[in-house]
């Protein structure tokens, strides 16, 4: 349903994303992994519209969205959580979500948006923190807010950038359950992750990137056993 076709993005002489082909299927949880600097976050920025590719195309269903603005993509159902949490610091948790709920789909009436916010607060366990200033949250709560705000836009597709990084195992497990529940509610998920146990438990399919290219694709076990992947992570062994 979401497809990248031979997308390339260069920064000066650096090719961050190099002719990448990728498809997210309906109802799927797809992991994108790879060493630091492999181009994963750039890929997400291409998908959510913060960057435009130098060449190639991005399609959502039958619609080409390569040149669409981030807000237009959000309106089409593309939600995104950032790796570096960036809550609106002067707003409460509830207000943070309300931005997404009011504007995620054009002209959502206020009562409907408020209902959506309550739903998402309950789903993500942020309800007790709803009226706290976003600047006062802990890192774990920040990460959950990041995810919750993306969910508040009522997306069909959710792009997650390392939302588990920095969480303790128990918190990570709760987050894994949460993402599964989100998928079961009919949302397709593409996520970037470094924590391998999370990838193993969550992903239906894994794509491995290195130096801007896709070097492997498949189930977790296949990918983990792939010599190219081991080389990318561990370096060449003699």
């Amino acid at each position: 349903m979401l497809r990248i076709e031979r997308a390339t993005k260069k920064f000066g002489g650096l090719i961050a994303v190099d002719a990448v082909d990728l498809e997210l299927r309906p109802g799927e949880i797809l992991a994108v992994i790879g060493p630091n600097g492999a181009g994963k976050s750039t890929l997400l920025n291409l998908l959510s519209g913060l960057y435009r590719p130098d060449s190639g195309a991005i399609r959502l269903g039958d619609l080409e969205i390569t040149r669409l603005s981030p807000e237009a993509r959000c309106h089409l159902g593309l939600g995104r959580a950032f790796q570096i949490v960036q809550p609106f610091p002067e707003m409460t948790v509830r207000e943070n979500l309300l931005v997404g709920a009011l504007y995620g789909k054009p002209s959502t009436p206020r009562p409907e948006a408020e209902r959506r916010v309550d739903e998402v607060l309950a789903l993500t366990g942020l309800a007790p923190r709803a009226d706290q200033a976003a600047a006062e949250l802990t890192l774990v709560e920040d990460k959950r807010l990041e995810l919750a705000r993306a969910l508040a836009t009522n997306p069909r597709i959710l792009l997650l950038d390392e939302v588990m990084a920095g969480l303790r195992p128990a918190e990570g497990a709760a987050a894994v359950d949460l993402v599964k529940r989100i998928r079961d509610s009919g949302v397709s998920v593409l996520f970037i992750e470094h924590v391998m146990p999370v990838v193993r438990r969550l992903a239906d399919r894994v794509i491995v990137m290195d130096y801007g290219k896709v070097i492997a694709e498949g189930g977790y076990a296949d990918v983990a056993a792939d010599p190219k992947v081991r080389e990318a992570y561990l370096g060449k062994t003699a």
Binding site: C74, F88, E90, V99, Y103, T153
Partner: protein, 311 residues
């Protein structure tokens, strides 16, 4: 909220308060205070989207001159004022289209340049008297005397306040605040940030132009360095900072306090009164970084957190 309505009510009943020989002076000073405060409220609306404008002196001046031109062409006062607001809004649209890719300080500098260009143009414009100045007839042909002019400025202040309050209660409030606090994130959440900034700019510049129009009909004479001066743009931003940014009560209370203070200092200290004014501002910004409303909000929170304390 109560503060806001109290201030507005006070403005309405002020002429009825028996203060003897001071009445005329107070009403006169109050009009300038209301006009300047309305300008500050308008600046604050634009600042809510994170755009720091130094062009509000220009919107004010354009509104003043355009309304004056219209009145001199025998257009009725309300229409002339609307015309002034419209001219300011159109000029802001041109500025906006040219500069909205700019952020923060770069945007501020572009708006300052715009302001200077406008002042220079009007300085050369013979049809509005250029450097000699341009006479303006009183509002409604002077009917009703001082009270007409006074209540026109009250109406302007009430309008600016109501627009500011309405925006704060509307859904736009969330879009403006999100755009200011993180534009890229706001866009990914579906907020059309550029359109939001343009909407804020249009509302803001129309109000500033309206304030200019009322100002011209009050002073009855316009000079480019006065109507377009950078001091006006500075005043428009100092007041919300002093009172409390992104609120309605803040610029409203801040404007009335600062402009009154300026008048009092001018009367008591005379020459060099601006030094005292400057000292007050520096102290205020050092000790109340969130303005008057920030201090009040903190006091309220403290009282709530310490129940049983004297209350």
């Amino acid at each position: 909220m109560r503060t806001v309505f109290f201030i507005l009510a006070l403005a309405v009943v002020l002429p009825a308060i028996p203060i003897g020989v001071w009445r005329e002076f107070v009403l006169d000073a109050a009009q300038f205070a209301f006009i300047t405060t309305a300008l500050a409220l308008s600046w604050n609306i634009m600042a809510a989207t994170g755009q720091l404008s130094l062009a509000h002196g220009a919107f004010f001046g354009l509104g003043a001159y355009a309304a004056a031109l219209a009145v001199n062409a025998a257009v009725p006062t309300p229409l002339a004022l609307l015309f002034g607001a419209g001219v300011a809004a159109i000029s802001s649209l041109l500025l906006g289209i040219a500069t909205f890719r700019l952020h923060g300080i770069y945007f501020a500098i572009a708006t300052l340049a715009f302001s200077e260009v406008m002042r220079t143009l009007v300085n050369k414009a013979q049809f509005v008297g250029a450097t000699f100045g341009y006479p303006v007839p009183a509002a409604f042909g002077g009917a009703g005397g001082i009270l007409t002019a006074y209540y026109l400025s009250v109406a302007l202040l009430v309008l600016a306040t109501l627009v500011s309050l309405a925006l704060q209660r509307s859904r736009l409030h969330y879009a403006f605040a999100a755009t200011r606090q993180g534009e890229a994130v706001a866009r990914v959440l579906g907020v059309p940030a550029v359109r939001m900034k343009l909407i804020a700019l249009l509302i803001s510049s129309s109000l500033a132009g309206l304030a200019g129009g009322v100002y011209g009909m009050k002073t009855l004479f316009l000079l480019p360095p006065d109507a377009f001066g950078v001091h006006r743009a500075i005043e428009a931003l100092v007041i919300p900072i002093f009172g409390g940014l992104y609120t309605t009560a803040g610029p409203l209370a801040g404007g009335l306090i600062l402009v009154s203070l300026e008048n009092v200092l001018r009367l008591w200290v005379g020459e060099g009164y601006l030094v005292g004014y400057g000292v007050v501002l520096v102290v205020a910004i050092l000790f109340m970084p969130r303005g008057i409303t920030g201090v009040i909000a903190r006091a309220r929170r403290r009282r709530k957190e310490a129940p049983g304390a004297e209350d």
